[in-house]
């Protein structure tokens, strides 16, 4: 862009972060997790459908075996990363009181970490026979 006479300082232009202060990092992470989630979600839904109403032993044997365990953990990480990025944008768009907005975003991020950790721990516990 030929932004020579712009109002933005040279530093602001060089850092390329824009008014939202985080540049394209957020946008890019949302897309990368989206691409990862396409095959992971299809695999997970298909597996769960085929395991409909199965026994505890069959379910834990399945999710505890190496490939399903790893794919499920990847699914959990990508899901919660993608979800908290999306919810952040929704909050930023509709909540305009600065304090409430900040509180909402912090809550969403902490909840995503907590739920993601709980889910990953559950899979590992099953996998390692707890």
């Amino acid at each position: 862009m030929a932004d020579k006479g712009g109002l933005r300082s040279p530093l602001a232009r060089a850092s390329g972060l824009g008014p939202a202060k985080n540049g394209v990092g957020h946008w890019w992470a949302q897309r990368v997790t989206a691409v990862a989630l396409v095959p992971l979600v299809i695999w997970f839904v298909a597996s769960i459908v085929l395991l409909s109403n199965c026994s505890y032993e069959r379910f834990t044997a399945w999710i505890g075996s190496p490939l399903p365990a790893v794919l499920t953990i990847l699914l959990i990480v990508a899901t919660f990363h993608h979800a908290q990025l999306g919810l952040q944008v929704v909050i930023e768009d509709y909540v305009h009181r600065e304090g409430t907005k900040l509180a909402g975003i912090v809550l969403v991020k902490l909840a995503a970490f907590a739920l993601g950790t709980a889910a990953v721990f559950s899979v590992l516990k099953i996998a390692f026979g707890g």
Binding site: V41, I42, F59, G130
Partner: protein, 131 residues
């Protein structure tokens, strides 16, 4: 303040809802619904990690009428968000912005989401021996 007299752009309710704009807000609504739905997923995994009794309890809850209705809604939301998300990725690549293409892809997303939801549930019931 003088700025109070500035003209405002029309509020959202002024506009007639269009197919494309309805699909757009539906992407957001299903996204939020799916985020809430992760609570059920985490509960289910934790129940499985806690042992057979807790797992049976969770399966009973999810298998109840209310649980199945919620799961049905969430499965549609998931397929819709998944397919419309792929539509968004094409837009991100700069493709499919023509009005005609946007309408066609929109209908494909809706039809695909309905189809995938039905297939998933028919398959699930046949696995359980119900079909």
């Amino acid at each position: 303040m003088a700025s109070d007299n500035r003209p405002l752009s029309p509020h959202l309710q002024i506009y007639k809802p269009q197919f494309t704009s309805v699909l757009s807000i539906l992407h957001r609504i299903t996204g939020v619904a799916l985020a809430l739905g992760t609570l059920l997923l985490v509960y289910w995994l934790m129940a499985a990690a806690a042992g057979p009794d807790r797992f049976a309890q969770a399966q009973g809850l999810i298998g109840s009428i209310v649980g199945r209705l919620l799961l049905f809604g969430w499965s549609f939301a998931l397929f819709y968000h998944l397919l419309n998300g792929i539509r968004h990725l094409f837009w991100d690549a700069g493709k499919g912005f023509e009005l005609k293409t946007a309408f066609i892809s929109g209908w494909l997303v809706v039809a695909g989401a309905v189809l995938f939801t039905l297939i998933a549930w028919i398959l699930a019931y046949s696995v359980m021996g119900g079909v």
